[in-house]
């Protein structure tokens, strides 16, 4: 686990090779995270994976979150592990909703980490984030004909209102 100064060192080294790639860092509850520019995400992941002395070769998890009132609202998180030193680092790419009905886009990292294949499909399935260059970006858990992106925070909860006598009397 890189500590806070170690994280800043990594940031500095990335900055030297890819200027402007890392927008900020955070070190919260012993968890080091790099916030990166979505356009240079693959460059950062490649750097962390291939640079001697870094060697974050294992993608343990790829997932997304919707921070709706915030802007940009979508965050795609990459959890990387160096398995020799057992060190973890998190890479976050923040995406905003285009607003014209099209989907937010991000580069796919399947070429770099084959395990990302299904996980990117899952993120697409639930959040509607499109991964450019993914070999087969289709729904993986929901039915193929499902409409909508159910894990977005503005997606209706669903279900049916339960009619209690109280509701009937007061609002029926």
């Amino acid at each position: 686990m890189p500590d806070a100064p170690g994280l800043e060192l990594i940031r500095g080294e990335i900055e030297r090779d890819h200027p402007g790639a890392v927008t900020s860092t955070s070190f919260d509850r012993e968890q080091a995270a790099l916030l990166v520019d979505p356009a240079q995400l693959i460059a950062v992941l490649t750097w962390l994976r291939n640079t001697p002395g870094q060697g974050y070769r294992f993608l343990s998890s790829l997932h997304a979150a919707d921070y709706l009132p915030a802007e940009p609202r979508f965050g795609v998180h990459y959890e990387l592990i160096n398995r020799e030193r057992v060190e973890r680092i998190r890479v976050k790419a923040m995406l905003s909703d285009p607003g014209d009905g099209s989907l937010p886009q991000l580069d796919s990292c399947v070429e770099l980490f084959p395990t990302a294949n299904f996980q990117e499909r899952e993120v697409f399935d639930f959040f509607g984030i499109e991964f450019r260059g993914h070999p087969e970006l289709t729904r993986i858990l929901l039915p193929e004909d499902y409409v909508g992106w159910p894990q977005r925070r503005d997606f209706p909860v669903g279900g049916e209102p339960v009619t209690f006598t109280y509701n009937e009397r007061n609002y029926g």
Binding site: P143, F155, V157, G158, G159, V162
Partner: protein, 222 residues
Amino acid sequence: MEIERRSFTARQASARDMLRGDLEGEDLERYVEEKVVTTTFEKMLNLARSNSIFPLTFGLACCAIEAPISIVTARYDLARFGAEALRASPRQADLIILSGRVSIKMAPVVRRLYDQMLEPKWAISMGACSSSGGMFANYAVVQGADKFMPIDLHIPGCPPRPEAVMYGFTKLQRKIQGNPDQGWRQRYNAVGTEEWARGGPASTPSPEAAEAYLAAREMSLA
């Protein structure tokens, strides 16, 4: 004991008398009336059906621990009601118990299993989730299994105890026999307010109607 034995020998003797042709006239009439029950073929068939149900080996979620697994064990023993033979193929089964929430991806599969079952067939929706969606009011779960297939019986609970499932099962048997006791008279404390097809007003049924009612009641509550 002694009296029972005597009456048994007496009955044996009368059976021998009948076979020998010694019973005649009124005695023979009474003997036949005692020994023979007349019914319709339909009723007899339903009686047989209700006591030899083949449930489908099928579980959806946590309720499956209670319904198809627990109730066939020695502790609860559904075999007492003639339904211990669980079938692994829907084509051999005539009862499907929906034990758990039905997700939108599972619903077409469940419907297909139900369609594959041969007539006559019955379906029990067990637990809150398959009856109404339960706690899963979200995008992934069907809000009540009767949105996509006919359900004969709902068993409430989360999950229902095996005893509740067996109680529901006996209710289903009664429904199959064409005599569904919905239980509302007990719930609304209305036993004894039945109307009579023939005889006097509700408070004083004719003796034969009262007798018939008591007999039917005994059968349905036994």
